[in-house]
């Protein structure tokens, strides 16, 4: 039982209430995390076996493999995130509460971001071992690029999952509308990871990282502004 907190009805309090609920559901079921983790691991293994890359080649391609593995794995998570709310009409209940849709959205994004980050933290070492990676550039920049790219994926994905669950074939539609919008961020993420791993200095001004950050800010702002419209669409 959580204590009634002092923030009460404030906006951040709402975000925390939603977030706490999502985290507790996941803590009790481990459904999303285990399926996502195993799926991402499979993608990494499959790519490694299919291409059998040498050290040089793997530096070139591993950024892409990591992003694509995360992307596919996240889609299963994002679909579940809202499907869970449809059962027992939780969505309708949420719609009827006077609280702000943006708070719900932000909480969902934070929860999903956390799950995907956990998967990446577990997967990262395995990834480095399988692909014999040895970054030649500034490895610490990865700590900036990967969360930024993950945020772009998860924020947009959570938003579009809320759209696609309203359609007839919901699980199919999410990747179809998410991937085109996510492509600029994927491009920026893959290119900056490649630059870091190969250390070729092709991006001295970190343009791609800046673009990724800009993409995050723009799309997150629009998502927060428009989420109420999506939630209340009837």
């Amino acid at each position: 039982m959580s204590q009634p907190n002092t923030t009460g009805n404030s906006w951040l309090g709402l975000v925390w209430a939603h977030l706490e609920k999502d985290l507790r559901i996941e803590w009790r079921s481990w459904q999303a995390l285990t399926s996502m983790l195993f799926y991402a691991l499979l993608v990494v293994v499959l790519f490694s076996i299919a291409f059998d890359p040498t050290a040089d080649v793997s530096r070139q391609i591993s950024g892409g493999v990591l992003c694509v593995a995360t992307m596919f794995a996240s889609v299963s998570l994002l679909n579940q995130a809202w499907t869970r709310e449809i059962r027992h009409q939780v969505m309708d209940a949420l719609r009827m509460t006077p609280s702000d849709g943006a708070a719900l959205f932000l909480a969902k994004v934070l929860a999903n971001f956390l799950f995907v980050c956990i998967v990446q933290i577990v997967l990262g070492p395995i990834f480095f071992i399988f692909y014999n990676l040895h970054p030649l550039g500034d490895a610490w920049l990865l700590l900036l690029v990967i969360p930024l790219g993950t945020w772009a994926l998860v924020a947009n994905g959570t938003f579009f999952a809320a759209i696609s669950i309203r359609s007839r074939n919901r699980d199919l539609l999410l990747p179809l509308i998410l991937f085109p919008i996510f492509l600029p961020a994927l491009l920026a993420m893959v290119l900056s990871v490649k630059t870091i791993l190969t250390g070729d200095g092709s991006d001295p001004h970190l343009l791609w990282i800046k673009m990724l950050a800009g993409y995050d800010i723009i799309f997150m702002t629009v998502s927060l502004l428009l989420f109420d419209t999506v939630l209340q669409a009837e």
């Binding site: 696609s164 509308i177 085109p180 919008i181 428009l226």
Partner: protein
């Protein structure tokens, strides 16, 4: 009277397109370094400009839809028809851009396609609007119209990225012909004339198709609302 007007505009547009074809293929002089293949430019660039115009129409109509859907439903329905028509015609024009580009690129660059910023973002734009049309196919009713309008706004945010792409990053795509600096602009008056006529002809053609598409969609809406009313009355 209405029929006459339609026929005049259809014939006028076809005439303009014929004239534009003559201008591009025969009247404009052959370009010095690239030769005849440069004439694709008279189709590629007008189509790209108009694709942006139609996506802009779709974007504005989507905003109007979201703003009016509660207060003025009839206006919102009209806006939704414009949004759908704009996206559909825009996708067609964008497809022409994506086809004529490689046709030009193969002889001039020696490759059909390269993943540089301008090309990639145009392709992304095309993909986004195709996904918009898919969403409209997969969901139904006023709920779908709202969701599609939201997606259209997301798609439109990609347009400035596309437009700025070859200004921000060094790309293989030719520098912008208009507004790209002191050296930009077409110098030869015959080339400029051919270009202008083609912009006009394709704009008329696109707007004509757009108007037809909006008309059809409005009829579709009327049929659906009448069917809904009839179903209610039958109960």
């Amino acid at each position: 009277m209405k029929k006459l007007l339609i026929w005049v505009s259809v014939l006028g547009t076809l005439g303009l397109m014929g004239w534009g074809y003559y201008q591009a293929m025969y009247a404009a002089p052959t370009e010095a370094t690239m030769g005849d293949v440069q004439r694709i430019f008279y189709y590629h660039v007008p189509n790209a400009m108009l694709a942006f115009l139609f996506f802009a129409i779709s974007f504005v109509a989507s905003i109007v839809y979201l703003a009016t859907r509660r207060g003025r439903p009839s206006m919102a329905q009209a806006a939704d028809a414009w949004a759908l028509a704009g996206a559909e015609v825009g996708v067609v024009f964008c497809t022409v851009v994506l086809i004529t580009g490689p046709l030009w690129g193969r002889p001039v660059w020696g490759i059909w396609w390269t993943w540089d910023a301008r090309l990639t973002t145009t392709l992304v734009l095309w993909l986004i609007y195709v996904s918009y049309l898919l969403l409209r196919k997969f969901a139904a009713g006023p709920q779908m119209q709202t969701l599609a309008a939201v997606l259209a706004i997301f798609g439109a945010m990609d347009v400035p990225i596309v437009y700025m792409a070859n200004r921000w990053w060094r790309t293989q795509h030719p520098a912008p012909v208009f507004g790209g600096g002191d050296d930009s602009g077409i110098k030869d008056p015959h080339m400029l004339a051919a270009f202008g006529w083609n912009v006009l002809a394709w704009a008329c053609w696109g707007l004509l198709i757009l108007a037809f598409r909006v008309y059809v969609e409005r009829r579709q809406q009327r049929i659906q609302s009448e069917a809904a009313d009839a179903a209610l009355a039958a109960d």
